[in-house]
Each structure stands twice: as C-alpha cells, then as structure tokens.
Symmetry: C2
Subunit: 114 residues, 2 copies
DNA sequence: TAAAAGAGATACCAAATGGTATCATATATA
DNA sequence: TATATATGATACCATTTGGTATCTCTTTTA
C-alpha cells in the first residue's frame, strides 16, 4: 500500500545525493568523476552512491577497473507520483489541466471511470 | 540555487511522517488524534510533527489546550517541482501529454510559441 | 613485470534520528 | 477548587548517518 519507495525517499533526503543525481543526469560517471565535483572524499561519495543504488535511483556497470554510475530516472517516477495525491490541494488550475490530460490519455487507452 | 527545500525533503524521508501527512490531508488533527492512528507514543508523534513543521509541511494553531495540526500542501509543491527536472527522462508518452497540457493551457491564457 | 590508478572493505568517529519514560505546565470541567 | 486532559520539556537510549583514514584487491599501462 505504501506508494513510492522508502529507499528512494531516504536516498533523496540528502542534498549531496540529490546533487549527484543532477550530475548523473548530465552524463554517466565513475566514482572518481562524481567525487571531483564535490569536496568530499571518494569513499564518502561511494557511500552516497551505494544508498542511491539501494534506492534504485542509479545503476552501476563495471567496466574494467571502473564503475560507471548511471541515472535510473524511472525510479524517481513513483516518488514523484506520491506527490500527485496532493495535487488536489495545490492550485485548481493544475488540477483542471490534469483532468484534461486524463481525457487526452484515454484516447490512446481504454476509458477510465472518472 | 537549491531547488526544493532541504527541511521538507528531510521531513518526507520518514514513512511515518508521510503517513501523517496523508492523515492530515483528510482533516486537521490534534497531536493525540494523530497519535491514535499509530502505534507510537504521543511524544514520538510530536517529534515527527515538529520536523514536519520545520519543513513547513504543516502549520499549528493553538486552540485552548489543544494544538491543531494542519496540512500546508503548498509546501510540497517546490519539492514536487524538483522532480520535474527529470521529466525529460521519464517516458516519452508523459512528455507528449504534457505538451498537450501546455497547448490546452494556452487556450485559457496567452498563447505560447509552441 | 613493476608501478600507477580505480575501486572495495574495514574500522572508527561525531552527530542526528527515532523512539521511550518521566515530570511539569496549562486548560477545561465536575 | 480539585481533577482530568492535552500538551510541553527533559533526559536518556540504541541505531543510523555522513564522514574520514587506512589497507587491500584488481586492472591498466609504462
């Protein structure tokens, strides 16, 4: 029943890890490359990467002696979706537009009951 | 430059606190009322509420001897917006629908260039 | 093959976290 | 006024967290 993914939420709680994700959005990177963007030891960065991996927010490909860290953006989607529950409270305008999206979407899928 | 709000991200990292937000979305509640929904002491719940308050995700109104905790849904918006950066990576379909939304939106606002 | 480079594995540390228990304070209410 | 109720405030505890330092292992490369 728990929407989203606890490990992902946990991973996103730290600002360094969010920054790492933004960097990995630009390009895949080795641990050392990620570390070069921060004032942190490589070991510290590796810990962050491990937590991001546990949240499935990144995947890792071993290539020779290197570990290529790669963003897994789809893992962010369920987290983002958790927030959609609260759309109803945000602005009415957004809510209205989302209904339009639903309607539009149903043209390519089977109609939903709402 | 830091999009979103660190205190809010931190507050959302804990599953109990996310559950509390869902409850408060239903109705405003006193500390004791919130606590009645969990197998936690009132003190523990109060700590969570304090962290949610620090993240500005809830506001508190003192009424007599009671403290009414109220959801502040707008505070979730900047956090949700942080994820929008990654929209570009999600599925093309969503991306397409969002363009449709933009187009639709422009009917009620001034026209956009797309 | 020897040396350098990238990463893994531990061990360690201070601070933050999530929780409890206990006592104090303020406010309704019988 | 006495008492019950709702909350506040501490103090305490075990675990997690974010970080460093150090040593080892593996893979390149001179």
């Amino acid at each position: 029943m728990e929407l989203g993914n606890q490990q992902a939420f946990r991973a996103l709680a730290d600002p360094s890890r969010r920054a790492i994700l933004r960097h990995l959005a630009e390009q895949d990177m080795t641990i050392a490359e990620v570390a070069s963007n921060f004032e942190m030891t490589r070991a510290a960065v590796k810990k962050h990467l491990k937590i991001l991996e546990e949240g499935k927010l990144i995947s890792v490909e071993t290539r020779g002696r290197e570990r290529i860290n790669k963003l897994e953006p789809m893992a962010l989607k369920p987290v983002s979706d958790w927030f959609n529950f609260f759309n109803q409270f945000w602005d009415k305008r957004l809510s209205t537009l989302e209904k339009a999206v639903e309607t539009h979407a149903s043209q390519n899928n089977k109609p939903t009951k709402n």
